[in-house]
Amino acid sequence: MWSRKSALLGSLAVSMYLMGLTLRNSQLVTVAVVIFVFLTYAALFSGHADVAASGRRMDEWMGEEGVALSNVSAMRKLSTARVFEDGEVEITLRMQNHSALPKILEVRDRVPEVMRIKQGANYILMELGPRRETFIEYTVECPLRGFYSVGPVAVRVQDTFGMFHKEKELHVYDDFLVFPKMEDLKDTFVKSKVPKIFTGAVNIRQPGPGSEFYSLREYFDGDSFRSINWNAYARSGKLMVNERERDAVSDIILIVDSRAIAETGPVSRNALVYSTRAAASLARFFLSRRDSVGLIVYGDEVVSVDRDTGKKQLYVILTKLAGAMARGNTPLQVVVNRILPHINRGSPIIVMSNLEQDPTIVNALRDFRARNFDVTVLSPSSLEFEFDARRIDRTGFEVMKTERDILISELRGMGVNIMDWEPDMLLSTALAGARGF
């Protein structure tokens, strides 16, 4: 390909040549000749021959990249295929020159736009000797969850004066997964009102809300007065409370709203980002408590992960959360109608949604409550994200905020534990707020 420099020089040479003939000025013609020679020399010895636009025979056609790049190959290795948000991936690119000629190559390994180069560089200018190889190492930081692909490798060769160049894309791709970041939750105050009953129930041996006595401990601020063991107080003179063994394993259902509206706000601060992080944190917390956790992500379709326990289930859930795309506008009622027959009555349900543009929300949550499900709604406020990003003005914000407050009050009136989750609030704080603590 001609560069802008060569195109300009070529045009200048043609004009000077013609002007020289018109003005009978041999100096102009001589300058034009020298420029032409420069261009021809660069085209001849720059490692390609694209100036010969015609006359190329089909059997000699080496593809778009020309001869110079046909002997260059690339391979890539990633340090990990799975990483959490804000984690780092080390990438090693191996470039090989199979030809007998040394080459000056410009190599750019394409990384997704949201990634940040932490160390090293993905854009390299190198002189690669004949039949040599080299390793390029760099580290990327992954700030946002998702499925990502590194590649292709764009290679460019050009003459020393930068007049002609040829490019080739080496289609080497490597995929990796960025899981949503997780927050450490100490206690979520979420419990099942109806213990899950199945044969061979797991003996949990953990303190928590339940009916069986587990142990006695000192009273701390915030403990319920009903749990004070007055006999122990009389004996020891210190306030003591009864701890109970946590009831059998619960089914926890996490519902994540990934409709198109959930991505309203900046890329790194929107309802979907917060919802996926919350769902990941809650899944880890409940699974570590040996509860069984199911996940439903709804956007343009309803994607569900069936309830299960264990570490494997956590990775299944994290993978689904990493791939959650803001698309479609499936109403919550559709989700409720679909899952209601399949979940145990009384199971805690945690919905993460910004509650916007869904007229079925009130009815859907009423259906849950009518069947005595313990419903918690964490609602990251898209309004706050938009307002913080200064995309809506104050009047509009106040009006919409009032509408949102009315909706939240209505849901609260139905017995839904709901929290208007502000952007700077920790998940544990939001959960505590939702449960009224």
Partner: protein, 314 residues
């Protein structure tokens, strides 16, 4: 039995509830929201910064695929760039002097306008001086706009209606008595002009590269070998271009020499022919050269050469 309240608490008035908040963090709203709300206007117009800045390229930019003159901010020049700058200064001085010699005021636009040699000489000298000055400033400040102005002025100085024969403004070395030296001077002038274009362009290119390296945007392996290749090209390319240009300018000698093999009388007539000595002879020479080059490309010589070089010793 409940303990009696401390005396301090009794003294507090009933309306003072600050003690309820001791040791607690009270949140009313996200700090950023409050801060933003204080700054926001109450109007409903879309804030300026909410609209992303989109640069719409003009016609020329769209044609060229980018800005005509890129406005880069470079870091201080490194050794390589400084060397190129020194080379460009040397080239500029030589080019200024030779341009002044090979472009006499006769035949220039200002000679045609003023009709006097004095005024035309003054203006021609000023154009060449300005070309040199802007070139100096452009190279020193690494600003392509000044360099473009310098290129334009040098070309403007060469734009003159010349007679068939080469004329010199000052023939200090009695070159007009020796046509070979005269031809050499014109070739040197042409090569210097093109080398000046290339060197100053190199200053900008390598400044960009150096800035990219130092800001970690690009990593360069084997910098010395890349630079040495560039230096080598700076030697070889002008030598070849000069030799070819000299052969083009010597067409009035080469063609009669070839014809002399068949007919000496015709060869003598050709040597004295005005057409071959004039610019049309040069044009014919260049036509021959480029027919040869065209032939090389037509038989796919570059591709064949490249394939041969690539697969050598395999």
């Amino acid at each position: 039995m409940a303990a009696a309240p401390p005396p301090m608490a009794r003294k507090q008035s009933r309306s003072d509830t600050s003690h309820l908040y001791d040791g607690k963090v009270v949140r009313s709203a996200a700090p950023s929201r409050k801060k933003a709300a204080g700054k926001m206007k109450s109007g409903t117009e879309v804030p300026d910064d909410a609209v992303p800045e989109v640069h719409i390229p003009g016609f020329i930019e769209a044609l060229l695929g980018g800005p005509v003159v890129p406005k880069h901010k470079f870091l201080p020049a490194d050794r390589m760039v400084q060397t190129l700058q020194l080379g460009a200064y040397a080239m500029l001085i030589s080019l200024g002097v030779i341009t002044w010699i090979v472009t006499p005021p006769q035949g220039t636009f200002w000679f045609w306008i003023f009709g006097s040699v004095g005024g035309a000489t003054l203006l021609q000298s000023m154009v060449i001086l300005s070309a040199t000055g802007t070139g100096f400033w452009g190279t020193m400040s690494r600003d392509p706009r000044w360099l473009l102005a310098s290129y334009f002025l040098f070309i403007l100085a060469a734009m003159r209606f010349a007679s068939s024969k080469v004329a010199l403004s000052n023939d200090w070395f009695d070159l007009q008595q020796n046509p070979w030296l005269e031809t050499a001077l014109i070739v040197i002038y042409a090569v210097l002009l093109v080398m000046y274009f290339e060197l100053t362009n190199g200053v900008i290119r390598f400044s960009m590269l150096d800035t990219s390296i130092r800001t970690n945007e690009v990593y360069v392996m084997n910098v010395k070998r890349i630079i040495s290749k560039y230096h080598r090209s700076l030697m070889i390319n002008p030598a070849i271009a000069g030799a070819l240009a000299a052969s083009v300018l010597s067409i009035n000698t080469i063609i009669p020499a070839v014809v002399n093999l068949f007919s000496s009388e015709t060869a003598v007539r050709m040597e004295e022919s005005v057409e071959l000595i004039s610019v049309y002879g040069v044009a014919m020479g260049s036509l021959f050269v480029f027919l040869m080059v065209g032939l090389m490309f037509a038989v796919n010589l570059p591709l064949r050469m490249q394939k041969w070089r690539e697969n050598r010793n395999t």
